[in-house]
């Protein structure tokens, strides 16, 4: 029986993924606050360090993840329509955006390290490298999950499959969301 978009509310995906999202948000909130406190205590160090970051990398990465999320959302929506179309393309595009993000990150880190900036240089770069690394692991896990979703999106429609797709998608959107905040804290402020 298909679950159409209905007037009655339902939890997207399954409750467990929201519990995980809550946990992840709490942990990253701690990270955000640590960055902010560091910024408060060492404003000069942070702003001069921040100015060495290449805003173009940050912007490109933000747009990549936003677009990836967009594709995933479309993919899930199309799956629910169950009209026989091949929805895998959306997930492939999202995987592509994730992979490009990671490649971008590696280039960016590399550029910093060749300029002599490492996690041990100062507190800004300590937070920058460690938290973008932890986020990058999330992106990597997200790409792995997307490859599962890619396969699942061709499966026959069942409520379980829909929930599974939605849950995986929610994780991907979480990854996107976390980056928005990191982008603001590291690149923009």
């Amino acid at each position: 029986m298909r679950e159409k978009s209905q007037t009655q509310s339902r939890i997207p995906g399954e409750p467990g993924i929201w519990a995980f999202v809550t946990g992840d948000l709490l942990v990253f909130s701690l990270f955000f606050i640590l960055i902010a406190i560091g910024n408060q205590e060492q404003g000069g160090v942070f702003s001069s360090a921040r100015s060495t970051l290449d805003l173009r990398f940050g912007l490109a990465n933000t747009l990549l993840l936003l677009t990836g999320s967009f594709f995933v959302a479309i993919g899930v929506e199309r799956f629910r329509l169950d009209d026989g179309r091949d929805n895998r393309i959306w997930f492939r595009l999202a995987i592509l955006s994730g992979v490009i993000f990671l490649i971008n990150k590696v280039f960016e880190w590399n550029a910093k390290v060749s300029d002599g900036l490492t996690p041990m240089t100062n507190d800004f770069f300590m937070y920058y490298f460690v938290f973008t690394a932890i986020h990058a692991i999330h992106v990597f896990v997200g790409v792995v999950i997307l490859s599962f979703l890619h396969k699942k999106s061709q499966a026959p429609f069942t409520p379980e499959t829909q929930r599974g797709l939605e849950s995986g998608a929610i994780f991907w959107h979480l990854v996107d969301l976390l980056w928005i905040m990191l982008f603001a804290l590291f690149y923009l402020v």
């Binding site: 902010a36 910024n39 408060q40 967009f70 959302a73 928005i180 905040m181 982008f183 923009l188």
Partner: protein, 78 residues
């Protein structure tokens, strides 16, 4: 769904433009940056994560967290 993406991209570009410019009014810019980040995160939650379909407690819980963390960060960043 598409409009959501357009909004997100537009807001991202706005925030980038704000940050690029010489800000004399640092505090206002900081607030604006977190406001735009907040809007983006809300749109991601509401549209992409489909909180618009979810029970109220999930939606409002998310909103509450978003407002709380935005305020804390704006407060902490001088």
């Amino acid at each position: 769904m598409t409009w959501a993406w357009f909004v997100l991209v537009a807001v991202t570009m706005l925030a980038w433009w704000l940050a690029e410019g010489e800000q004399k009014m640092a505090d206002a810019t900081t607030t604006a940056i977190f406001l735009t980040a907040g809007v983006k995160i809300w749109v991601i939650g509401y549209q992409f994560m489909e909180l618009k379909l979810a029970p109220a407690f999930l939606r409002y819980g998310f909103l509450l967290w978003l407002i709380a963390i935005s305020c804390i960060l704006v407060f902490l960043i001088p």
